[in-house]
């Protein structure tokens, strides 16, 4: 079950593909039901659930691949390539921040997800400010910051619950001990 090389890699790739498909579905649901309140950029970010879970069970490399695939395919299918540009900036910054915070070992999934949510919104804001070349966009910053905190906390709590429910064999198969990496 815990084969060291070929078997594990195949297993991980299959698992990563499933995660990418799931993340894409979540992106689709989010595109279908946009609960916009008149301020651009406010989203729950349910696709981040998959990204965060994947960061715990598959690690950074696979998660990066899952995220990039999700954003590009979602861009081609329903968000538009223009939307993909924002998502990419937000998604990559968010993943980088979450990876670094997780590495410190100080934060729970809630803290990591919260920082990720804020970083996601900040990345999109920076891209938007660059594209329309106005610094005035930063008047949205406080709103996006708070929305990032709130959605990040929600996603973090759900991720924590999911990670607890996942079978130990899944962690073993991807070479990550459940208990040592388990957040609590």
């Amino acid at each position: 079950m815990t084969g060291k090389s070929g078997q594990t890699t195949a297993y991980k790739i299959a698992l990563a593909s499933m995660m990418a498909a799931l993340a894409l579905i979540f992106s689709y649901i989010e595109a279908l039901i946009p609960f916009s309140i008149g301020i651009p950029g406010i989203k729950l970010g349910i696709a981040n659930l998959v990204i965060l879970v994947s960061l715990y069970i598959l690690g950074f490399g696979y998660t990066l691949a899952i995220n990039v695939i999700r954003i590009l395919v979602a861009g081609l299918l329903f968000n538009g390539l223009f939307g993909a540009l924002y998502s990419l900036a937000g998604g990559l910054l968010s993943l980088a921040v979450m990876y670094l915070l997780k590495k410190t070992g100080l934060f729970s999934t809630v803290g990591i997800s919260m920082a990720g949510g804020v970083a996601h919104n900040l990345g999109q804001l920076l891209t938007a400010a660059f594209l329309v070349s106005t610094i005035k966009l930063f008047f949205y910053f406080p709103v996006l910051l708070f929305s990032g905190i709130i959605s990040g906390i929600l996603i973090g709590i759900i991720t924590h619950l999911i990670l607890k429910k996942l079978p130990a064999s899944l962690y073993a198969a991807t070479g990550r001990a459940k208990n040592s990496k388990k957040p609590d």
């Binding site: 651009p40 729970s108 803290g111 919260m114 106005t134 910053f141």
Partner: protein
């Protein structure tokens, strides 16, 4: 589940948000001029006191901007998201309406801003 570091991080972020919104609202005053920018280039400037409707036709996109009773709003946009239209009216110098897909920015400026630029 929640650790000490999480709470410290949350507090830092919240303080940052409050400080930013305080700093932004401090420089707020009711504006005099409306400036429309398309893709970073100035398109036109109008007085906020005069009612009018401006149609911006650029790069195959159409946006309608309405100035009425000292407030500006994006009344029509052919963009997908419609966030700019839903945002409603703005009146203060700290506010702006941005249509990201069409790269249109509506900003409000105080009267003395132009003057400062000249006297400097």
């Amino acid at each position: 589940m929640i650790r000490k570091a999480d709470i410290i991080l949350a507090v830092i972020l919240i303080v940052l948000g409050l400080a930013a919104s305080y700093a932004l609202s401090a420089g707020e005053e009711s504006g005099q001029m409306v400036r429309i920018t398309v893709a970073g280039e100035e398109y036109a400037t109008y007085s906020l006191a005069e009612d009018r409707t401006v149609t911006v036709d650029k790069d195959n996109h159409t946006n309608k901007i309405t100035i009425k009773d000292g407030a500006v709003s994006m009344t029509f946009s052919d963009c997908k998201g419609q966030d700019c239209v839903h945002q409603g009216k703005i009146t203060k110098t700290s506010q702006s309406i941005v249509c990201l897909p069409n790269k249109i920015v509506i900003e409000i400026e105080g009267e003395n801003q132009e003057y400062d630029a000249i006297s400097r």
